[in-house]
């Protein structure tokens, strides 16, 4: 719901109606986030321990506290369409320290799940899905790495699907079960042609 006053574009953006309204708040969203995250997402008292602990916050616009606030209020669209949602490194520092014993990391994961249902997801995440589907690794081994491993006296490939490709069908079966690869391919194709 955009309420503007008809100024030129740059100014108009600045003069957007900044308020949120009761109809922006969806109690079902809070319930869904709680259900998926299995944490008390509605109990945040906004102390900021999470953002203070966050390695992403000092070098990005990502504010985990802001997402916690949105979870409390049920601000669904605002949460799911904010690109910052994808800047969490899932390091769990906030979860370690939250004095209310909430798991903010899991709240972010729940929101990402809900966003993906609406096809909201950065392409690089989908490329990771494709990489795992083809190699079993989000970041497959490469020649630079292989050389480094050799210098350190390690095998050229780690003892994973790289060394045991016979396990790949199992991994693909799991991914296919959730139609993850199919959806990733579809969205990537839509965006990149």
């Amino acid at each position: 719901m955009v309420r503007t006053k008809g100024y030129p574009e740059a100014l108009e953006k600045k003069l957007h109606d900044q308020r949120y309204y009761s109809e922006d708040s969806n109690p079902e969203f809070t319930k869904n986030v709680k259900g998926i995250s299995r944490t008390i997402a509605h109990m945040c008292y906004q102390c900021g321990t999470c953002t203070g602990s966050c390695p992403s916050a000092p070098r990005s616009t990502y504010r985990i506290r802001k997402f916690m606030r949105r979870a409390v209020l049920g601000l669904e669209n605002e949460s799911l369409t904010d690109p910052d949602l994808w800047l969490c490194t899932t390091c769990y520092s906030c979860t370690d320290r939250c004095p209310r014993d909430i798991a903010p990391t899991d709240v972010i994961m729940a929101m990402r799940n809900l966003a993906f249902k609406r096809d909201i997801i950065p392409v690089n995440f989908l490329k990771t899905v494709q990489a795992i589907y083809s190699s079993g690794h989000g970041v497959p081994n490469n020649d630079v790495n292989r050389a480094a491993r050799e210098r350190l006296g390690l095998t050229r490939d780690p003892p994973t699907t790289h060394m045991y490709p016979e396990y790949m069908p199992g991994i693909r079966k799991i991914i296919d079960h959730y139609k993850l690869k199919a959806n990733a391919d579809r969205i990537v194709k839509e965006r990149e042609g």
Binding site: G48, T49, S53, S93, P99
Partner: protein
């Protein structure tokens, strides 16, 4: 269902043919009506009074339906309802009905007996019946409140509750409370500001008061503080006059370095055993008693000078040394040295330097003293939460992270640094100080305290003021979640500190890291008002640590039969209407042992406790609930099993007519029913909870009112 069972166990039904009715007005004050077999021909006539409690009850059930049903219950002679049964007109309804309907028992269906049993007993008495012929059916806490959305179910449950209560009321007997004498003396456990205030009030009211303190000096936490908010009085300056008063008051018997070891008895007659820990030093009075002319400790300190053992001083939170023979600070009351026998090497140098005063006894042993008191006040205080458990703030890992109590000693003129605030790492004066509020409070992780410690906001404001005042150019940064300045002149104090230059950052501190080279600290937090993370480099960090009950509180409370809540604070009888009382008659609470309090609230609570504790003493006698056990001697086989089971040592075996029978000391009996439930011969009659009464209640519930 659980509630129903509970109700069943307490109340009863009446369609048993036997009526255990004693004559309505029994004259004998000495003995309650004879138990089993004392059936009378008098017909039970029970009045049932249903309370709406506004909409509390009436809003969740069909009162007319309940009333119509009640009329059909056997023995019910009269039924009425009223909007507020506890109001004066409501009580009038009961009073009038007793007289006009010649009732023999009263059932009020309303709230919990904890709330209004006394009210309705009085109404019953005013109607001309023995007050113990009243029975309550709880249709609010155990019904309408929990079944708010089940009109039909709550109506049926109310019918059950009333039927069960009528069953018991039909079998109730006249009972007469026992009066016991109250010893004209009181005990206060803990001599911090709460205990001292309570003891002074009791003593000034003419009551002999034993003040028991586990450390060598009175004064408690308040004596460790530098200044007090919001008036900025010097803590010692306002406390020491009280300490001196306590030391001098003729009615106060001060027992420092002593602990409560055992408690026996009941309100009016507590027998308390005090362990006087081996102090190794005798007072001048004791010296005189031992015939040493001019002997005993006069506090000269010659012993301390020669003592070779050095230990950390607890009063200075370990930041100053003391000897194995010590006083903690110059203003101790009593001025009497103490030997720490855990570190004393018994070299005897102190004995030599004490000389003719002969005040030191290296072979001293713990002594036990027994005193009798009428009432007791617990004022056991608090300790600091071990904030090193929150590893992210680095307490005990980084030298320049201190607790608020350490800060108090560092800023105090009589403290280890003479009042010069320094960084522990290098002795430099800090120019930037971060205060971490809610350090361990409001924390639900299980590795902290879920409650608000209540006075940390205010003392942190005071700390900010102190550094601004003492160190020109020094900036205090207060990292907070909410500033809770709730008291009189507290919000004004907050205004003042902000005006003086205190910087408030709304964000809980996420973690603290030390720069190994400078020992400066980086404080990481989210400035939630700016929505930006902050990395603040400071010279010193002060953690406003949470508070928790003293370690020994749990042992002490068990001796006095006092409960505690989940967080360990002692449990008051009612959080709003009886905050100083406990569920043990004659035992009261003062100060922080009941929950975090600042000094004004602590003193107010102490005065409240002293007032409450003095009432039974001034009355001279107290009435005990007549719920004691009685022995039916012809059935008693004298086996003595009950004697060993009784948790209150109220029972004994005595010789009567050539055989052994059990005898109850009624004042000691709490009516718990342990003996009655166990007795293999059914020889024990529990007044007011007698077997026929309880069986009738169970029948009333199970048979659903059928004959």
């Amino acid at each position: 269902m659980a509630e129903k069972k509970k109700t069943t166990a307490k109340k009863t039904e009446a369609k048993k043919e036997t009526k255990h009715e004693a004559p309505a007005k029994q004259e004998t004050k000495k003995q309650a009506p004879a138990p089993v077999g004392s059936t009378t021909k008098q017909e039970a006539r029970i009045g049932v009074f249903i309370c709406h409690c506004g909409t509390n009850i009436a809003g969740s059930m069909d009162i007319p339906a309940v009333q119509e049903y009640a009329k059909t219950i056997p023995n019910v002679a009269y039924v009425d309802n009223y909007k507020y049964m506890c109001s004066m007109p409501g009580q009038g309804v009961i009073n009038k009905a007793i007289k006009e309907q010649k009732l023999t028992g009263v059932v009020v269906a309303a709230c919990s007996p904890r709330l209004h049993e006394p009210t309705f007993r009085t109404a019953t008495k005013e109607g001309g019946l023995n007050p113990f012929r009243f029975e309550m059916a709880n249709i609010r806490e155990q019904n309408s409140w929990v079944h708010m959305h089940d009109q039909e179910g709550s109506t049926e449950k109310a019918k059950d509750a009333i039927r069960i209560a009528v069953a018991k009321a039909s079998l109730l007997q006249d009972l007469f409370p026992k009066a016991v004498q109250v010893e004209h003396a009181a005990m206060v456990v803990g001599a911090g500001v709460a205990g001292m205030q309570a003891a002074l009030d009791l003593a000034n009211a003419g009551i002999k008061t034993y003040l028991v303190e586990s450390t060598p000096s009175i004064g408690g936490r308040m004596s460790q503080l530098d200044k007090t908010f919001p008036t900025l009085d010097c803590s010692q300056c306002i406390l020491t006059p009280k300490m001196v008063d306590v030391g001098r008051a003729p009615n106060i018997e001060l027992m420092t370095y002593s602990e409560v070891d055992a408690v026996e008895g009941y309100i009016g007659n507590f027998d308390v055993t005090i362990r006087k820990k081996a102090r190794g030093v005798i007072t001048m009075a004791e010296g005189e008693a031992r015939g040493i002319v001019g002997g005993g400790c006069n506090g000269c300190g010659d012993c301390e000078v020669v003592c070779p053992v050095v230990k950390p001083n607890e009063f200075e939170v370990g930041m100053k040394p003391r000897k194995a023979i010590y006083i903690n600070h110059p203003q101790v009351v009593p001025l009497l040295y103490t030997i720490d026998f855990n570190s004393c090497i018994k070299c005897g140098l102190c004995v030599t330097s004490c000389g003719e005063k002969k005040a030191i006894d290296l072979e001293a042993k713990d002594e036990f003293v027994k005193v009798k008191v009428g009432t007791a006040i617990l004022a056991t205080g608090f300790d600091i939460f071990p904030v090193e458990k929150k590893t992210e703030w680095g307490y005990k890992k980084y030298e320049n992270v201190v607790t608020s109590l350490e800060f108090e000693r560092l800023i105090c003129a009589s403290g280890p640094t003479g009042g010069h605030l320094i960084r522990p790492s290098d002795g430099e004066t800090p120019k930037k100080v971060a205060f971490v509020l809610c350090a361990g409070s409001r924390d639900n992780t299980g590795n902290g305290k879920p409650y608000c410690s209540r006075f940390c906001c205010m003392y942190s404001l005071k700390h900010a003021h102190q550094i601004i005042e003492k160190i020109p150019g020094c900036i205090p940064y207060l990292f907070y979640m909410d500033i809770r300045s709730f008291g009189k002149m507290y919000e004004e104090f907050y205004y003042r500190i902000q005006d003086e230059g205190g910087k408030f950052i709304r964000g809980r501190v996420a973690n603290i890291l030390e720069d190994p080279a400078t020992k400066n600290l980086h404080v990481y937090a989210d400035d939630t008002l700016l929505n930006r993370p902050v990395d603040m480099e400071v010279d010193l960090v002060v953690l406003a640590a949470a508070v928790q009950p003293m370690e020994d509180t749990n042992r002490t409370r068990k001796l006095f039969g006092v409960s505690c809540s989940m967080d360990g604070w002692l449990l008051e009888a009612h959080p709003k209407l009886n905050p100083c009382g406990t569920t043990t008659a004659g035992v009261f609470l003062a100060g922080v042992c009941q929950g975090p309090k600042d000094i004004p609230d602590t003193v107010a609570s102490a005065e409240g406790a002293a007032s409450a504790a003095s009432i039974p003493i001034h009355k001279g006698e107290v009435e005990l609930e007549p719920y004691f056990a009685m022995c039916i001697e012809e059935r008693c086989a004298g086996c003595g099993m009950c004697v060993n089971l009784c948790p209150f040592s109220a029972l004994a075996l005595v010789e009567k007519e050539g055989r052994k029978v059990m005898q109850v000391t009624e004042a000691k009996c709490k009516g718990c029913g342990t003996c009655g439930g166990f007795c293999p011969g059914g020889a024990i009659w529990m007044n007011h909870f007698a077997t026929p009464q309880i069986v009738a209640q169970i029948d009333a519930f199970l048979l659903g009112g059928e004959q």
